[in-house]
Symmetry: C5
Subunit: 305 residues, 5 copies
């Protein structure tokens, strides 16, 4: 699903170019002031930024860990959506007895369930990105169902409810036995769980005071840095300070990018790509080998995470 | 659910203003003593606070991790409450056969179950905040049920018991089959688990000896700091010590705030907001698009975590 | 459940008072030797304890983590016992049909099950503390059942077996249907799991070679410390060394206390308090609002963890 | 399964030989420049690489952890595939009643199911390695089934679907009861989950910006190193810098190798070996003690991870 | 289960005595060379081993963590085996209706199942230790069953299959209902999972390149150490270097010992002791209070982990 292309250097350093420019100018000013006016007492011992550097490193490691965990949990949830979508379709196709009843009606019923499951995946992806969950669903489900979903604040939940109604109908018609209905409903509960977990990650921001505080501590550390190195070098201090500052700035940026995996950024969870793969797999179960073109693809295929 | 507004700097530093003032005065006194009386032997080598700084950083990282885990677990449990409330309602609506029996009675029964589930969420949130769990439930459940719940120390548990009684009644009436009753009961068990997990986090304080010890070690470290820097600077030492001290003090404060996610603080789990969203979703399943106004909102919407 | 009272400083430092006295005397001797005989070559560079300090800090962080995890797992298991006890009682009360049969007999049967579940919690708590699991059970279960349990090495397991026998009886009488028996048995399996997990934590000591080794490394580090600081200070070295040593000694002590959560120490899991809460909740389900007095309370309410 | 042979030193250092050569030449050039032209001002204080070394160490520890977790998760998933394959076969053999019906037909049916399960393991392993999943399956399943699988993009999913169809057939024939069909289907769902989890690990690259950034920071650190050591040594600096650089380079390489556990490298998950063990165990259940020779073995048995 | 006796110091340092002797001689040689020939330029700055010490500490912490996790997972799996063995026996005894049928036959059947479960635990423990899984089983199961198991490469799996066959027989006889058979089969699946997880830990070596690399880096660090300290001390350098080296060497040894929890070492998982406890508990359920003597005990009771 994800592409392993090389990321241009420009892209990476583009994220911190303003910060780097500021640090460079700031260091330059201090170096010049120091050389011109011979302000020896401006220097501070290197141990001071070293103490702060240790704390800061641990905080950034903590932050990176939590951000990575959020990103990986988001990816794992979408992996579970793939699995449960496949299991749901397999169960719909293999539980419902197609011999004893009107085969035409049952075939149509099964196809409707499977196609609605595909629609559910797209709808969830779009809702999480803050777009209209109903967009483009009409090629997969009937107009009546789209209209029904429109009445709900939460479109994917409306589709799950339609699933549940159809299962009740199938039980009543005798197409499913009682165990099978309950088993299929448990698959629906798992899908409902996955949906809720995505919403939880989407709606819970990383503790803002933490990120703000780490941000301050890092900036303070960078402000101190030129004073600690001023004794040793002349103008060569500028690239040194810039390099160390860039290291810290980049780690923070990476964490910020990973921590919101549904925010429509290049490092996003590739929900549209995953949904398309689900569509391909589920349609093949229905003997339908037609796939829509990738026009509506909103994933950024250029950059990967 | 959570707002990503900016947190004013004043708010963050307001939490540690007294500590910072103390540190500033303390450092000032030492600097003046040193300058006045020329007490060279007061200085200690920087390596001493550096050793302590490393231990302290690891302890604070450990503390931050555990506090974050408690906060995130609390959030995950409430995410599971959202999921199980939705699943419970979906099951109540789709399991109970509404065609073969008196439709009016069944409709009323199903609505009662769903509304009681909404009430359960509000009641749990209020109990965890140490408020009266029965407050405001009368707009969702009948007076007789509120009176029944009042006899219990644990209001949400009383509501789960009423759920279970209704399921027994529905099984006896033949509205549910045996598998469906057991499946719904398993959903109740999951809700019961979520409730117990919240109580566990609420009632288990972070090991007090640990937090006390970290607090002491940090204060001792801050007390040493001015002596270690005294050789190098004059009055400029004061802001330097204050800055390093503020870094450590803030991390501790953040951990203390995160570690009690049900303590009615701004960094709290937004239980009322989550309950309102559950109310909206569940009522839409009942075709009820009326929502109470946000008068009773006890979440602090100004600050986010 | 747990009280958040302040822990007196005396309590904390009381744990390491002998170690601290030893360190003080030892440092004093070295300082005096150094001053008297002017042994310059006794000094070692500060970098040596710094290298060891980093390794030691990481090892202590590792140790603290594992100890905390054991303590938190113990607490989580007892949280699960609360949840499963409630679910078990709810299921017993709501699964058994009380209308179609002799109500008196069924009422008595249900009450026996619920009271035995309460007894199970107390029995497990006492077994884990190494006390007699049968103590005080006669106020909750019949003499015949106590006598039966006495034949087993593992009292809580005997009670689970009696639960299972009663379920078999209820199935035979037709009070439970086949599906409900299996569901109740799954709740018993969860209780059986919780019991086994507690035994696992109780019986598996933290790898003894690890703790021994960390202990040695720490003592060696403390022995080196005075030599590293000897160049800089005179008598003021004593409180400095004591303070750094106290920091490391306390972290180790805390870890030792947390790592055995069933060892009858103040930092113990509050099993009696939890069991009493279970008794209150389960008896309220039976409309019994009588609670035994807290005479038998073996939890230490003064100190909290 | 895995061999614990010694890995030749040559193999390990072979991975970083070009990098090491470059570092050696680079350091040599700097030493010569410094000695020839007496450029004192080229030296930088050792504290600068020490600050970077701490950050870098934490980043590499973070990276190693995530890579190890991916590798261990992959191994755990294949462990679950072993377990579920055994459980599936045990259920197929013990659920289906072989006395009441035409024994010949049932025996054939059961054997077909078990052999297809073996085929599924091989097919999954080959798909994950990017090879044709259908290769070599004809010795385990019929030509008709191979042809059916060929129509799917995902061969293992096609085999699971055939499993599900056979279960439907067995339910209809009365060979399985309703409860047993659902239980077997749950085992299929677990296999489907395992398949999806493998695909998730395979398809989700480690956040590329992170690895790129760590790579840059490390190279920058290595470039600085000779300047920091230049004051102290002459030519002996070259092996020192090479040794420190080799340490960092090797950790990065190890992480890169572990993080993609399905990439046909020596440190790969040994999927073919595991599949062969599954074949041996499952065939013994069928009283078939014949095993294919290890011609098709694509695991590298020389190196182990 | 595990004994908390003191471990003799001799045992701990016995593990690294050769390494320590080598380090001592090596340091001595360098000190003498330095003193004799006055080779000032041999010294290197302490910062160099400090940078390596930080990386090394993090790597060893990483290694210790993974080793501890493997050890603790092994212990947790055997805890689950205890739980599931008890649940299995409880289910066998309470599910099978003993009144309606020939009580003698059913009693014998139930006893056979429970005794086979005990045999399964011993067989698994011996297989994991690389011994013959069938040893000593004849006192628990019939000769015919031992002979059957002998045909399998995996003895415990053969016993699980015999369990499953007996369940099929009991279902056919009407001793179990359909739900009970499936529930018992799920317990078998859990036992099958536990067996597979043990095999996974046993068969998956810790990534060999990692351990090899950490080993090299550590040795290189120890080789550098005497040069870094040579300026400061004379002969007193030898015990200092030995002490620091011993610290690092011991951590590595501990990790190596913990990481293979089924390798017949003193720090092993105490599988025989656990199996004997299972035997005691399960036999008490059968009213059999006879236990075999501890002749066959292959656990080392002297040392504990």
């Amino acid at each position: 699903m994800l592409l392993k292309k090389n990321i241009p250097l420009k892209y990476i350093f583009g994220k911190i170019k303003y910060e780097i420019a500021l640090v460079a100018i700031y260091t330059l000013v201090i170096v010049i002031l120091h050389d011109r006016f011979n302000l020896k007492h401006m220097a501070i011992p290197l141990s001071v930024p070293m103490i702060m550097g240790t704390v800061l490193s641990l905080l950034l490691a903590f932050r990176s860990n939590q951000a990575y965990d959020r990103w990986w949990e988001a990816r794992t949830i979408w992996g579970a959506i793939v699995n449960d979508s496949r299991s749901f379709s397999r169960q719909v196709l293999s539980f419902i007895d197609d011999a004893a009843y009107d085969s035409e009606e049952i075939n149509h019923f099964r196809e409707r369930m499977v196609r609605r499951q595909i629609a559910w995946c797209y709808a969830l992806g779009q809702s999480l990105r803050g777009l209209d969950g109903k967009d483009g669903l009409d090629r997969l489900i009937s107009k009546r169902e789209v209209a029904h979903a429109a009445k709900y604040a939460n479109v994917p939940m409306a589709l799950l409810e339609l699933h549940a109604r159809d299962l009740k109908y199938a039980l009543k018609q005798g197409w499913l036995n009682e165990f099978q209905q309950v088993t299929l409903d448990q698959t629906l509960s798992r899908l409902c769980d996955a949906m809720g977990k995505c919403e939880r990650i989407k709606n819970t921001v990383f503790p803002a005071t933490y990120s703000l505080y780490i941000h301050f501590a890092m900036n303070f550390f960078i402000l101190l840095l030129p004073f600690a190195l001023i004794e040793y070098f002349g103008l060569i201090e500028v690239p040194l300070v810039v390099a160390i500052a860039a290291a810290f700035l980049l780690i923070e940026k990476m964490a910020i990018h990973l921590q919101d995996p549904f925010d429509n950024k290049p490092t996003d969870t590739p929900m549209t790509t995953i949904s398309r793969n689900i569509e391909r797999d589920l349609k093949q179960m229905l003997n339908d080998h037609h796939l829509p073109e990738t026009v509506a693809n909103t994933d950024h295929q250029f950059y990967v995470m």
